[in-house]
């Protein structure tokens, strides 16, 4: 921790902003939260922003003409602008608020499958078309595409994983063809920590006229992102993984694409004219935000962006990179432990999954939990990835702005204790 402080990143000051980190799991056990990849904790700045909004400006947005409704609408649209700036979106109008990243990905998949003749060809998936994903996707960026293929008669194909825990691009040319309408890929694996070569993939996809959908759930919270220069067409991420509230996610899409896409959810606030016989729809982003939106949550997410922005995403990334390296090196020393992911380096970021030979991750996690070390066990919503490596599941530690080197050390020590605990029974 001292080291970090001297680098200018004061993790103890950060921790002081997160009330939950003070809690104990039981009298003797402080909380060592290493499950930030599943959901992060919220600093009081985020909680306060929501409470301030609710006790001062809360009203229905966009539908009201009164001053309170105006204040609420300003807060909501102001939040959209803050978040847009944070991810380098050219315009706030390119951001659609959803309930989570999963809805954002479903939104794209459903919209592309609406099959309306008035939709331009490149935004319409039908029989004979192909959708390309990868074997490392989170279920959220796999199942919606399977379902789109089922609904439309398109074919799902995938880029396989290589033995070195990166994407195997050997056959990319035969996978990505004129038939490919969509390439859906994650920016960073939530299991392996692998960063995908997104610029290269996006270029190859665009060369054959395919749309590129980026699952940015694990990158936006952990590194500087400039969507305008990534070369992708859509990106999805969730508030709750980046110090913000649950119940809010973001779909970013290029303005000209959103403008030509049919709606997904329909109802109030997304219409232009409604008659019993038929309805026309508003411009984006309104077209894709049916019903009363998550207003206070947007305000909270904007506060989270401000918080991360003040820390500096370069600093956050460096902090987490140091923790990742430390975790990998510590775990590698232990007998029977195998890290499932690339070695520490520029092409990987901080999700550290590992296997303990002969032990099911559920049992590993249970012993770690008894020591206050909260990690995730199982397939982490990436079942095909685990099957690829012959695993039923892994144990995963993941980090955030408030994670300390001492906590990483507690994980490594904890794994030592896990090994000892089970050895007792292996007589």
């Amino acid at each position: 921790m001292d080291e970090q402080t001297t680098r200018g990143y004061d993790v103890e000051a950060v921790r002081a902003d997160f009330p939950i980190l003070q809690r104990r799991l039981d009298e003797d056990t402080p909380l060592i939260y290493l499950d930030s990849g599943a959901t992060s904790q919220r600093p009081r700045q985020v909680i306060d922003a929501e409470v301030d909004f609710l006790t001062r400006d809360n009203a229905a947005v966009k539908r009201g003409a009164h001053r309170l409704a105006e204040a609420a609408t300003d807060a909501y649209e102001g939040a959209r602008e803050t978040i847009a700036r944070f991810i380098g979106a050219p315009s706030a109008e390119e951001l659609v608020f959803t309930k989570n990243a999963t809805e954002a990905l479903n939104l794209v998949a459903y919209s592309l499958g609406q099959g309306e003749a008035s939709t331009p060809e490149h935004l319409r998936v039908g029989p004979g078309d192909e959708i390309l994903v990868t074997e490392m996707e989170h279920h959220a960026n796999l199942v919606p595409w399977q379902e789109l293929a089922r609904r439309t008669g398109a074919t799902l194909r995938w880029i396989p994983l290589a033995d070195d825990f990166t994407l195997d691009l050997t056959d990319l040319d035969s996978l990505l063809t004129e038939r490919t309408k969509v390439l859906a890929v994650s920016h960073q694996s939530n299991v392996l920590g692998t960063l995908t070569p997104i610029r290269r993939l996006a270029e190859a996809a665009h060369a054959v006229g395919a749309l590129v959908v980026l699952d940015a759930c694990q990158s936006v919270p952990h590194m500087p992102i400039d969507l305008a220069t990534l070369g992708v067409d859509f990106a999805a991420f969730s508030g709750h993984k980046m110090l913000g509230p649950t119940g809010i996610g973001v779909l970013w899409g290029r303005a000209e694409l959103l403008a030509a896409m049919p709606p997904f959810l329909t109802g109030g606030s997304m219409i232009e004219v409604v008659t019993m016989e038929g309805t026309t729809f508003a411009e984006p982003p309104a077209r894709f935000e049916a019903g009363t939106p998550m207003v206070s949550q947007a305000v909270g997410l904007a506060a989270a962006c401000d918080y991360l922005g003040a820390l500096g995403m370069e600093n956050v990334a460096a902090h987490e990179r140091a923790l990742t390296t430390r975790a990998i090196e510590g775990l590698r020393e232990l007998p029977g432990v195998r890290v499932i992911g690339p070695d520490a380096g520029p092409d990987r970021a901080g999700a550290v999954a590992f296997d303990l030979a002969g032990r099911h991750p559920h049992d590993v996690g249970q012993v770690l939990d008894s020591r206050g070390v909260e990690v995730r066990v199982g397939h982490h919503c990436a079942w095909p990835l685990h099957r690829r490596y012959g695993l039923h599941g892994t144990t995963r530690a993941s980090f955030s702005v408030y994670t300390t080197e001492a906590e990483v050390d507690a994980l490594v020590e904890g794994m030592g204790a896990v090994i000892d605990f089970f050895a007792r029974f292996d007589r």
Binding site: K62, R63, G64, A65, E70, T73, I271, V273, A282, A286
Partner: protein
């Protein structure tokens, strides 16, 4: 809260006795615009004389339903634009848009936008900005349409 900056006598004058109202022939383009929040609607027809930037608005007719602000805005705009060239209108429309988005921090220049200064009080009321600008947006859409049609 000061309502008189919003509801000026000029606004009500135009609301009650709108200028150039009604839909007339001939027209080169017709557009229909809606404010989905409150259901205000305008149908606007545009007839030009001449070509390109030097084309002149020969007629601008419309049918507007909506609040006092939106109806007055249509009336004032029609009166302001009829007889002018597209090139002359451009800075007027730009000024109008700028003042309306300044949240009351800028006052309109009467030399540029004429009677429409009476509408700029609405810039302090974010939800009324759309009411005022709807007819201007409709004009711009209609202009675009005459060009698209002309190119065919």
């Amino acid at each position: 809260m000061d309502l008189t900056s919003l509801y000026t006598d000029i606004v009500f004058e135009h609301d009650k006795r709108p200028l150039h109202a009604g839909l007339r022939e001939p027209f080169a383009a017709e557009v229909h615009h809606v404010n989905p929040t409150c259901g205000d609607e305008i149908t606007l027809r545009l007839q030009l004389e001449g070509e390109g930037e030097q084309a002149r608005v020969a007629d601008l007719s419309y049918d507007a339903t909506g609040c006092a602000m939106s109806r007055a805005s249509a009336s004032i705009m029609a009166d302001l634009l009829i007889g002018r060239t597209v090139a002359e209108i451009e800075p007027i429309a730009a000024h109008m848009e700028q003042v309306m988005h300044a949240r009351g921090k800028e006052t309109g220049d009467e030399d540029v936008i004429g009677d429409a200064v009476a509408l700029t009080g609405a810039a302090k009321f974010p939800n009324r900005v759309k009411c005022v600008l709807m007819s201007w947006k409709a004009y711009q859409a209609a202009l675009l349409e005459t060009r698209v049609l002309g190119e065919r």
